[in-house]
């Protein structure tokens, strides 16, 4: 059901909402970009509507709202282990269609690939998603190519338009809150086409794995891992055991985001690593996104948000690599 509000009304409702919920949304972090006097848009907890960046696609995805960069698995005190508490409040996560499609991928790994993940699950179950529409395509995304340009998995759709705000609430509890507004038909803005079009390779063979393209791009790669860290579908982590400097018998185990492009990712005790070569890492990443995830789960991992292209300091275009690979495989 859709409702219309004035922007002021919406701001006021939102402020109340932000008391009951932990609201995670893209925020412009002034000067926090890689370079001096450059901003970054990333997720943070917000308490008012005007903190939210609705226009620019976030540089880092929503995923940290579900999967903290650092997450404590348990504390240990001598021989005992204690699991930290889960979220105290339900949470709202503002995101776009591509990202909401990415939630499905996170669920796939964390809930449906072997064991269920205790930590993800308890947060996920308390999370509702608020869709931000896309009136026009961003410059680097190719969601239409990946079929992730639309979604109906949102609990709320919220749109600001001039002095007005529109919502469509699907979640019952949220509907309660917004039904005070003027009823109006509201349907999300989705793009149907992007500037970037990606055609996935059709016939991937063992030969594909040896494509010179991986070498070419691998040589350009500096193994910084940004492509993974901004990606809404990358889920890897590493375990870290910390001992407290004040009492070395106590500490905690954490899981921390990991990147398949960064040194050490495949390294086992004794120092042997399995993908020392950048070409192999590049292949591994790309193939995961457009080939083997699909092989295992039946649909592609990549949601075409384009963040990896935007963030790469070496201007490696994953989308271009995929298109070139597609042509090679024809």
């Amino acid at each position: 059901m859709g409702y219309k509000f004035s922007k002021e009304e919406m701001a006021s409702i939102f402020s109340k909402l932000a008391v009951d919920y932990d609201v995670f949304a893209p925020v412009v972090k002034k000067g926090d970009g890689t370079f001096s006097d450059v901003d970054v848009v990333r997720y943070d907890k917000v308490s008012s509507l005007d903190e939210i960046e609705f226009e620019k696609k976030s540089d880092y995805s929503f995923k940290e709202a579900l999967l903290p960069i650092n997450e404590t698995i348990f504390y240990f005190t001598e021989d005992e282990t204690t699991v930290p508490k889960g979220p105290a409040k339900e949470r709202l996560v503002f995101l776009r269609a591509c990202d909401l499609n990415a939630v499905k991928r996170l669920d796939q790994i964390y809930l449906k690939n072997g064991f269920e993940d205790f930590y993800y699950k308890r947060t996920r179950e308390m999370t509702k998603f608020v869709l931000i529409g896309c009136k026009e395509s961003c410059a680097s995304g190719f969601c239409a190519s990946m079929g992730t340009n639309t979604t109906d998995e949102y609990d709320l759709y919220l749109k600001l338009d001039g002095d007005n705000a529109y919502v469509e609430a699907k979640d019952e509890k949220l509907t309660e809150i917004f039904k005070a507004g003027k009823e109006e038909t509201v349907s999300p803005d989705f793009v149907s086409e992007n500037l970037i079009k990606v055609t996935l390779p059709k016939n991937i063979t063992p030969e594909t794995m040896k494509s010179e393209l991986f070498k070419e791009y691998g040589n350009r790669c500096i193994n910084c891992g940004r492509c993974n860290f901004v990606c809404p579908t990358c889920t890897c982590f590493t375990m870290q055991d910390i001992f407290y400097k004040d009492n070395e018998r106590n500490g905690e185990r954490r899981r921390v985001w990991a990147s398949c492009q960064v040194d050490g990712y495949t390294e086992i005790a004794g120092g042997h690593g399995f993908r020392g070569d950048n070409a192999d890492r590049m292949r591994f990443k790309v193939m995961h996104k457009i080939h083997d995830f699909e092989k295992r789960f039946g649909y592609h991992m990549c949601v075409g948000c384009g963040r990896c292209d935007d963030v790469c300091p070496e201007y490696i275009s994953y989308s271009n690599l995929v298109n070139r690979l597609g042509k090679e495989c024809e």
Partner: protein
């Protein structure tokens, strides 16, 4: 009439009296090197109309138009007017169409800065232009340069005042993924002030030079720049025949306003202590300090300066360099 030119005035008017009799060169300066492209055409026109068609690009970020007949100085000065205005140099009303009002204080130079450069910690050209506005016109021999980071592409350590951009890196351990990029970056590109401890970064605050490499290397925004911009002030470096030497750090983690104040205060110091025998009142500040003592300099320089609590000031600065004046 034979050429009858007050060369001292001409020099102060930013003209060079060249080695070729009767020939001068017009020294156009561009504060901070930040140059509206329009200026290029203007310089070209002067060079082709009055000069020999060649222009020397100077390492102080100016143009030196070669081969101008000294008779044409006045006319060329008129042609310089739009350039002076375009690059935004201070000028008294009566000096309009008369070229540069002074030349002793050298062009405030700057690396390309954070307009463009990924490593720069501030907008060097803007600061250079601000300082230019504050100190020009002035005929005392001051060399000031701004550089975006400790790489010092502007070679500020060869200046009386070198301003090196710093950022006080801000670390959010909860965004850190222990990828080591900052540690490696600091080790290979900077001073190795970072180490990993318990999967998190420990910054050696004594060693850290505030270059910001950690920030640029961080893939997760665990490292970000401080909101405040910081500057290192190196002082009294110089080239030259007697005792070329590197400027040494005096203030670390200082702020822009105080640095500007210190530079202006130093003009008063020089006015007071410059050698009366200095040819054309040109004596490097460093030599004046060598003569009258660092404490006296400090007394002047720090007038009305209230440093931020985080600013580190070295109480004494020791220079070395190479001594050709009193060797063996």
């Amino acid at each position: 009439m034979s050429l009858d030119i007050n060369t001292k005035k001409a020099k102060k008017n930013a003209w060079r009296i060249t080695k070729e009799r009767g020939i001068g060169a017009s020294r156009i300066r561009v504060p901070g090197g930040y140059c509206d492209a329009e200026v290029l055409g203007m310089v070209q026109e002067i060079a082709q109309t009055y000069g020999n068609g060649y222009v020397h690009l100077t390492t102080r970020q100016g143009f030196e138009i070669e081969g101008i007949h000294l008779e044409d100085m006045e006319e060329v000065n008129k042609k310089l007017q739009p350039i002076i205005e375009k690059v935004g140099i201070n000028q008294k009303g009566e000096d309009k169409d008369k070229g540069y009002s002074a030349s002793g204080t050298r062009n405030v130079s700057a690396c390309i800065g954070n307009n463009v450069c990924p490593f720069a910690n501030y907008n060097t050209s803007n600061l250079a232009r601000r300082i230019d506005k504050e100190i020009f016109p002035n005929d005392l021999h001051f060399k000031v340069a701004c550089t975006g980071c400790s790489n010092d592409c502007a070679k500020v350590r060869m200046h009386d005042f070198g301003i090196i951009g710093q950022t006080m890196p801000q670390y959010d351990p909860m965004r850190c993924v222990s990828c080591n990029a900052c540690v490696k970056g600091c080790q290979s590109l900077s001073v190795g002030a970072l180490r990993m401890e318990n999967y998190k970064i420990v910054r050696d605050t004594e060693k850290c030079i505030g270059c910001g490499v950690c920030v640029t290397k961080c893939p997760t925004r665990a490292w970000t720049r401080s909101e405040k911009k910081y500057y290192k002030l190196t002082i009294m470096g110089r080239t030259g025949k007697k005792n070329p030497r590197l400027g040494k750090d005096w203030l670390i983690w200082a702020d822009e306003d105080n640095i500007v104040k210190i530079i202006k205060n130093t003009y008063e110091f020089v006015e007071e202590y410059i050698s009366p025998n200095a040819p054309a009142r040109k004596e490097h500040i460093g030599y004046i300090i060598d003569r009258v003592g660092f404490e006296k300099f400090k007394e002047y320089a720090l007038k009305d300066v209230e440093l931020m609590p985080e600013t580190i000031m070295n109480n004494t600065v020791y220079w070395d360099g190479i001594h050709f004046d009193n060797q063996h």
